[in-house]
Symmetry: C2
Subunit: 351 residues, 2 copies
DNA sequence: CTGAAAGCGCTTACAG
DNA sequence: CTGAAAGCGCTTACAG
C-alpha cells in the first residue's frame, strides 16, 4: 500500500482542495465574520438562532475542527491532563488508569501519561516541556521525601496528589487509606495465630504505602497487648524475589511453620505461599497468608488468596474529578478524598 | 495549606513581577530581537556565539520556556504521540507502555494515551478532538474488521498499527508474530501427548491474535498428519472464567485427564490448571498446560507455567520508533516490524 | 549574522 | 446580535 496521497508533508489534514479549512473558510461559507463563527462554537447563547444554524451547517459541510494550538494560545487551556506514575506495571496501575481515562473522557479531557522511574530526585515531576501543554497534573508520590511534594506544589499549576495516608499532602489529594485494611488484616491473622508468630513483609522502607501498612500492622498487635519484635516487621521490595527470600530465611530458622503473614502486595504473598508449599508446608494449615491489592487473580490462586482490596479504579476516577474541578473552579475548596481499603478473606488465611 | 499565592486564575505560571515571561521579555533582557531569541533556541548554528550566550543567559535567568501553543501554531508539531489501546489491563499493556514511554522520552516526545473499549465500531479511533493535538498515533487493532484499519489510515496523519500477523496492514506496522510461538507450543504438546488429545483454548473468535494462534496450532497438528477436530479449537474470552468453564466441560466428558492444552493467554492457562487440580488431577502429570504472554508471574505459579513469550516492551519501543521516524521523515520507506514470540518451557507442560 | 514584519488561527473586548 | 480589530507568542521568509 502506497502512501496516502492526501497526506501532506506535515502529516496534517488537508481539505479536498488542498487548502486547510480554518475559521475563515467557515466564516466565508456562512457569510459571517470569524468572530461569529467563534461565538457559535463557544457561546452559542449569544448568537441569533438563524445565524448559528448557517454556521453550524458550514462547519459540518467543511468538516471544520478548530485548531487547538490557536485556541490554546488564547485560552491557555488544552483539556489535557498530565498523569505521572512511578512506573508502568501490574494490574493496579492499569485499573487506576482505566478509571482515570473513563472519567476524563466523560468530561472531555485527555490524559498525557508518563512515568518518573528514571528520575530519582524529583519523583512525580515530568520533564519540564510537557508542563506547558497540560492544564494540570495528577502525580503519584510514593516516596516519603517531603521535598517531592513541595516540588509538585511549586509548579504553579493545578495538581492532584495521589498518596498514602500521610501528614503532608497537597491542596487536593486522593489518599489511599492503607491503614484500615492492613489493620483489619493484622487482627484477622492474630485472631487465629499467636501474635508472636505474625509477620509483616512489605515493600521498601522508603515507600509510603509500605510504611503505613507496617504501622497499621504494628498498632493492631499492640492493641492486643503484644509488644512487636523488630523481626516481625520486614521491608524489602515489591517482588516475588523478596517474598521468596524472606520465607526461605524464616524456613531455615524453623519458624515458617505456624506463622501468619501479611504481605505488602499479592506478589510477595504468592511467593511466600509457594515457598511454604515447596517446603512441604500447607497453606493455610501451616502458614496463613494475606496479600495486598486484591489483584484479579487472587480468587484463582491456589489456594485462593486473602488480600486487602485497593479500589484503584476509584482512585483514578476521583483524581480526575478533583483535578478537573480545580481547573474549572480555581477557587474551589481544597479537597482530600480518602479511599478506603478492606480485607477480603479467602482460603489462604483461614484458621 | 492555603492556595498558592503565585497561582493565578488560569493556573499558569506567572513571573515574580506578575508578568508572564515571553520571548519578548527574553529579547529585551538580552538586547536582541525576538527573532534572534527564536533562532538561538531552534537553529543555534545560525547565530553569533556571543549573541547566543547572552540570550541563553537571559533564558536561564528568567526561567523562560517557549509557549507550546504558539510554537505549535507555527510548526504544527506538538511532540505528543497518541496511543490507542483496546483497554487498560494487565501486565502486557503495562510492559508495552513502559517500552513506549521510555523510547518516547529518549526522543523528546510525550504520550497521550486513551482506550477505545467503549466504541464498538471504529476500534482504534480516539475521539476526534485529540487528533489535532498529536503528531501521530499508535493504534492497536485486535478486531479482524478491516474497516477499522481503513478508518485509521484515512486519518491523514502518521499512524503506526499494532496488530497480529495479518494480511491487511498499514504503511508502518508492528506485527506480533503469534504464529511462530503458537506453532512451537503445539508441536511441544504433541511431542508428549497424542495429537487427538491436544486442545487450543483461546480468546474471542473475532480477535486477530486468537485467530492466528489457533491457526498455528491447527497447522502444527496437520503437519504431524493429524486431522484436527472442531472441538480441539475453542474460542471464548480472555478470562479465568472461560478457562475454568472449558476445563469443567472437558472434565465432565471424562476427557481432561490425559490432555494437553495450549491456552490463549496465561489467565486461561491458570484456570485450566486449577480446575484440573481441583478435580484431583496433576499438572503436568495428567494435564499439560501452556499459556500465552509469559506474564511475570509464570515462573512463580504452581507449577511454574510454560508460556509463549510476547515481547511487549519491544513492541512499545518499536512502535514509537517507527512513528517518530515517520513524523520526522514523511518520505521514509513504509516499514513493517515483525516481533517474534517463542515458547518458554517450564514444569506445567513437562512430559 | 540580525531585525522588522507578516502570519499562524483563534478569542474577546469594544463599538455599533 | 454582529463585525472590525487587537492580540495571544511564536517562526520564518525577506532585507540588509
Amino acid at each position: 500500500m502506497a502512501n496516502n496521497p492526501d497526506r501532506d508533508r506535515t502529516g496534517k489534514t488537508t481539505g479536498s482542495g488542498g487548502a486547510r479549512v480554518s475559521i475563515k473558510t467557515v466564516a466565508d461559507a456562512a457569510g459571517v465574520s470569524i468572530a461569529t463563527v467563534s461565538r457559535v462554537l463557544n457561546t452559542p447563547s449569544i448568537v441569533a438562532e438563524g445565524t448559528a444554524d448557517r454556521v453550524l451547517q458550514a462547519v459540518r459541510d467543511l468538516g471544520y475542527r478548530p485548531n487547538l494550538f490557536a485556541k490554546g494560545l488564547m485560552t491557555r487551556k488544552s483539556r489535557v491532563l498530565g498523569v505521572s506514575l512511578p512506573e508502568w506495571s501490574g494490574d493496579s496501575y492499569a485499573e487506576l488508569m482505566r478509571g482515570a481515562d473513563h472519567r476524563a473522557r466523560e468530561l472531555g479531557y485527555h490524559l498525557l501519561v508518563t512515568t518518573n522511574s528514571h528520575q530519582p530526585a524529583g519523583e512525580g515531576l515530568p520533564p519540564a516541556f510537557a508542563l506547558d501543554l497540560i492544564d494540570g497534573m495528577i502525580a503519584m508520590v510514593t516516596s516519603r521525601a517531603a521535598q517531592d511534594i513541595d516540588a509538585l506544589l511549586e509548579l504553579n499549576m493545578p495538581v492532584v496528589l495521589l498518596t498514602s495516608n500521610a501528614d503532608k499532602v497537597g491542596d487536593d489529594t486522593v489518599e489511599l487509606d492503607n491503614y484500615v485494611g492492613a489493620h483489619q488484616a493484622a487482627h484477622h491473622l492474630a485472631d487465629g495465630t499467636d501474635a508472636n508468630r505474625c509477620y509483616f513483609v512489605g515493600g521498601p522502607a522508603t515507600n509510603r504505602d509500605a510504611i503505613r501498612r507496617a504501622a497499621a500492622f504494628r498498632d493492631a498487635l499492640l492493641e492486643r497487648g503484644h509488644s512487636v519484635r523488630a523481626d516481625q516487621i520486614n521491608h524489602g521490595a515489591w517482588s516475588f524475589q523478596w517474598g521468596w527470600e524472606w520465607a526461605g530465611k524464616l524456613l531455615e530458622a524453623g519458624q515458617l511453620a505456624g506463622s501468619a503473614v501479611l504481605a505488602g502486595n499479592d506478589e510477595i504473598a504468592v511467593a511466600i505461599s509457594h515457598r511454604a508449599r515447596d517446603a512441604g508446608l500447607s497453606v493455610p494449615g501451616d502458614v496463613r497468608v494475606v496479600g495486598f491489592d486484591d489483584a484479579r487473580v487472587c480468587p484463582f490462586l491456589d489456594p485462593p488468596l486473602s488480600s486487602v482490596r485497593v479500589p484503584n479504579r476509584r482512585i483514578g476516577v476521583e483524581a480526575v474529578s478533583l483535578l478537573i474541578r480545580r481547573i474549572e473552579s480555581p477557587e474551589a475548596e481544597p479537597t482530600r478524598v480518602r479511599v478506603p481499603t478492606r480485607l477480603v478473606i479467602r482460603e489462604s488465611s483461614q484458621y
